[in-house]
């Protein structure tokens, strides 16, 4: 009788552990970790600055080779706060100044087919940076 009690107790402990393990396993498989708590190794690629150009210019929109179905497009980007920005399309030119944080935005009109948009930022010292984008106006569906 005493031996039977000991065996049963031992088996009960094993079963208890097994059930607890199974419950833990189920909990782990159904648990979702919020994205903010996950850390993924990220490789930050910074473009190698050209040694001879101190002024920076980035154009967020339009993207190069982008196709538009409207003739009025928005040009946005960032440069130095004291710079002037010259925007020249196939048919017209515009000179604008950025906001205090260097951001700039303007609208321009493009022609049918392919257009080249030159965006030039000129600093107070006279240094300049030029970005040329090709954009296309087309309403064709394909």
């Amino acid at each position: 009788m005493k031996t039977e009690k000991i065996v049963l107790s031992f088996i009960a402990v094993v079963i208890g552990l097994a059930v607890a393990g199974a419950a833990f396993y189920l909990y782990q498989t159904t648990k979702t970790i919020p994205e903010s708590q996950t850390r993924t190794p990220s490789l930050v690629l910074t473009p190698t600055p050209k040694p001879y150009s101190s002024i920076f210019l980035t154009v967020e929109s339009p993207k190069d080779e982008e196709v538009f179905d409207k003739k009025t497009i928005t040009i946005t980007g960032k440069t130095e706060k004291d710079a002037i920005i010259i925007i020249s399309t196939n048919t017209n030119d515009e000179v604008i100044t950025p906001a205090l944080n260097g951001n700039f935005s303007t609208t321009t009109t493009i022609e049918n087919g392919q257009n080249q948009i030159a965006i030039i930022a000129v600093s107070l010292s006279g240094e300049e940076k030029k970005i040329v984008k090709t954009v296309t106006f087309s309403t064709e569906e394909f």
Binding site: L26, D93, V95, G113
Partner: protein, 243 residues
């Protein structure tokens, strides 16, 4: 005996539970597979996008055009029976056989991100204005031409015609109307126009000069060499040392 029955019941219940836990896993795998399938279809859908490029023809074959784009990258363009060709100078039908090396083409089509090729839907011969920026090196008031020197030291003779729209930039007023007579040597300038093949120059359609903004420090003008010598007041003139 009752205890043994109880034990057997507990064991049976545990086995059932374990079986259920195993049964969840294949379902989870199926869900994962479905998610992967949907993701791959979505990726395929984004693999192709509409794009428009401009380039100069470097090679033409039966169904392929090779271009050099604005950034001097080589671009491969495929054409098929649905591709439409046009040229402003062509009076009759224009096709791939009429395309010659050196032609400037505008391509509108479907760009495949994987193969990096464009399946052209529209191929047009385009005339895009040329932009020259730099500083005014010379000004010929008789011929109404100016010579612009650029950052890469290249010089471009620009013809000012009646059609040329000349403006200057003022910090307060923005772009204001100007004229040939107001353009000064050494000023920062931008000229937009079309090549004049006969004269090896450029006919300007638009000119903007910037009197209030210094010229690009990387542009070296030879104007300094022609600067008159400074007088000391004693009749002897100081001559700059030239190396």
């Amino acid at each position: 005996m009752k205890k043994l029955f109880a034990f057997c019941f507990l064991l049976f219940a545990f086995c059932l539970l374990a079986q259920r836990a195993n049964a969840i896993e294949p379902n989870q795998t199926k869900i994962d597979k479905t998610i992967d399938l949907v993701a791959s279809i979505a990726a395929k859908l984004k693999l192709v996008e509409k794009r428009g490029i401009i380039g100069v023809v470097t090679d033409v074959a039966d169904t392929k055009i090779t271009l050099s784009d604005l950034n001097l990258n080589t671009r491969f363009v495929d054409v098929d029976e649905f591709t439409k060709f046009s040229s402003p100078s062509a009076k009759e039908g224009y096709g791939i056989s009429d395309i010659k090396k050196g032609s400037k083409l505008g391509i509108l089509g479907l760009y495949n991100k994987q193969s990096r090729r464009i399946l052209a839907r529209f191929v047009d011969v385009v005339v895009i204005p040329k932009m020259v920026e730099g500083a005014v090196l010379q000004k010929d008031e008789g011929e109404f031409t100016i010579t612009i020197v650029s950052e890469d030291k290249s010089q471009t003779v620009v013809d000012i015609e009646k059609i040329t729209k000349t403006s200057f930039y003022d910090k307060k007023g923005g772009l204001l109307r100007s004229g040939f007579s107001k353009i000064e040597k050494g000023e920062r300038i931008i000229a937009i126009g079309f090549p004049n093949i006969n004269k090896n120059s450029m006919i300007a359609s638009r000119i903007i000069h910037f009197p209030s903004i210094p010229k690009n420090p990387r542009i070296r003008l030879d104007l300094e060499k022609t600067t008159p010598a400074i007088s000391t007041g004693s009749g002897k003139k100081l001559t700059p040392i030239t190396r």
